[in-house]
């Protein structure tokens, strides 16, 4: 019997509370809204980005490319040169998505007129936001910023976003936990493979869209775009992860990681019992497979808020559910994928009974990353990720895996011990 007033006792109570909130979460996709309507205090000239805070001078190539592109998209700059000049002279306010209840994949650009998915955690009443997935190829999330990228963003803003909003408003929302549970049994891990969940979401959305979109050609365009995008669900999973994890912030003496994110320069984590303080370290290079014509010499260091899916127990943590991903990201054989999930079990406090993996005899995904276990074992969270070209504007060049740097967890542990009065 542990004394609840002892340090280990307080941590046990704090972590039980955190896990209770995680498992009680009820994330539901409720709307798609312009970001300035959905996200409080998202004003003109504000650019939200992936990862912990960063200034223009420390941003990597793709992040700079995306900033320049989104400035043109918003009408704040006439061309890329002017956009970079404005960015460098302090005309834009840069903030992490995480500070605004949002998340964004890769570069993670979120600005006022972009449509964002709205996921509401009905157990706690909080909402989280993420932009719509742009599809593969040259896209802004990988630093793309040419006319084709901006035209697609305009279509998302003017056509797809309003259509999804109208469709969802005719429903009571789409509950996401059961959908993810089914996706895990269909070979998704919800980071680099979302084919199952994207298809399930399409089944939910198609009848709603058919009723709300009156023009057949527009409806066909929408269904073609969503139906041909295997990663359409990724951004929904990210907003879900953020909505699930946000109520865990600020629990006394909890050692559970509430956010992991990277901006292409730094990797940062937040911990439940340490308010919303970032603990950062230089981000690592992904190891993976490259599209034809590209090599690791083209790769940018890891980036994106998408690690929120690993934080909630999916992605690399659910690798055993997704043998196809192991090959796609160059992570080895199916048995090695199972070993990855088992390894993540060494640094988590429990398994999620609602999200199970058939290939591991229906074990739940490893859940509740504990900074103590990471530091003790030196096993760091493994993340499935896309790889961006290191130069601005060129987009995705591959996919792979990357580990969170141990220094983030060591710094957090030191701060946590200090918070509890342990020198």
């Amino acid at each position: 019997m542990i004394d609840d007033t002892s340090v280990p006792g307080r941590i046990l109570v704090g972590n039980e509370e955190a896990l209770g909130r995680l498992f009680r979460a009820d994330p539901v996709l409720v709307d798609v809204l312009p970001a300035h309507e959905a996200i409080p205090n998202l004003t003109e000239g504000t650019i939200l980005h992936a990862g912990p805070p960063i200034t223009w001078d420390r941003m990597c190539g793709p992040m700079r490319g995306a900033v320049a592109g989104v400035a043109i998209y918003e009408g704040w700059a006439g061309d890329l040169d002017q956009a970079e000049e404005l960015a460098s002279n302090g005309s834009f306010d840069f903030h992490p998505n995480h500070h605004f209840g949002a998340v964004g994949p890769m570069t993670g650009m979120t600005t006022q007129s972009q449509p964002v998915l709205v996921v509401e955690n009905r157990a706690f009443g909080n909402r989280a936001f993420c932009t719509l997935n742009e599809g593969l190829g040259k896209v802004m999330r990988f630093g793309g910023n040419d006319a084709s990228v901006l035209a697609r963003l305009a279509w998302l803003r003017d056509v797809l976003g309003p259509a999804l909003s109208a469709a969802l408003s005719s429903s009571s929302g789409i509950p996401l936990k059961p959908l993810v549970a089914r996706g895990l049994t269909m070979g998704d891990e919800m980071h680099q493979r979302n084919i199952g969940c994207s298809s399930l979401m399409m089944r939910e959305l198609a009848p709603l869209l058919a009723r709300s979109v009156k023009d057949h050609a527009t409806l066909a365009d929408i269904l073609t775009f969503v139906g041909s995008n295997d990663q359409f669900f990724l951004n929904i999973a990210m907003a879900m992860g953020k909505a699930v994890m946000d109520p865990l912030h600020g629990i006394d003496a909890s050692t559970i990681v509430t956010a992991m994110s990277r901006n292409g320069t730094d990797f940062g984590i937040m911990v439940s019992g340490l308010d919303k303080q970032w603990f950062t370290a230089p981000v690592e290079m992904p190891k993976g497979l490259y599209f034809p014509g590209f090599t690791d010499a083209d790769a940018n260091p890891d980036m994106g808020d998408s690690t929120i899916v690993e934080t909630v127990g999916l992605g690399g943590f659910a690798m055993a559910a997704s043998p196809a991903v192991a090959g796609f990201v160059g992570a080895g054989s199916v048995s090695e994928a199972a070993n990855t999930t088992r390894m993540m079990g060494e640094i988590t406090l429990t398994q999620n009974p609602e999200w199970t993996m058939p290939s591991l005899d229906y074990q739940g995904v490893p859940t509740g990353i504990d900074i103590r276990l990471v530091v003790e074992t030196s096993i760091t969270p493994m993340i499935n990720t896309g790889i961006a070209h290191r130069e601005p504007g060129l987009g995705q060049v591959g996919a792979g895996v990357v580990h969170a740097p141990i220094a983030c967890f060591e710094k957090a542990l030191e701060a946590f011990a200090g918070r509890l009065g342990i020198a």
């Binding site: 280990p8 103590r372 003790e376 030196s378 030191e414 509890l420 342990i422």
Partner: protein
């Protein structure tokens, strides 16, 4: 505990051997197929595997990677 008892019994048995019996036993060890459980450094396993020796690798490193200060903090934060 079982391992300790086994080791103690082994030592008592060894102490009753003559020198020639001990030499013979050591030769047996060298001549029999080697079975290895390697705890820790992977490269030891890799070297043996490359020579055709069957190895069971146990991944282990010291707590906190051997960082004494962090290990001390952990000992006060863990139950």
């Amino acid at each position: 505990m079982q391992l300790t008892e086994f080791t103690m019994k082994q030592r008592i048995d060894d102490s009753r051997m003559t020198d020639s019996e001990r030499r013979e036993k050591k030769l047996e060890l060298l001549e029999a197929p080697i079975q290895v459980v390697n705890v820790g450094l992977q490269c030891f396993s890799d070297d043996l595997s490359s020579q055709g020796v069957k190895v069971v690798q146990v991944n282990w490193i010291p707590p906190a990677g051997g960082n004494a200060r962090l290990a001390a903090l952990l000992s006060r934060l863990m139950d």
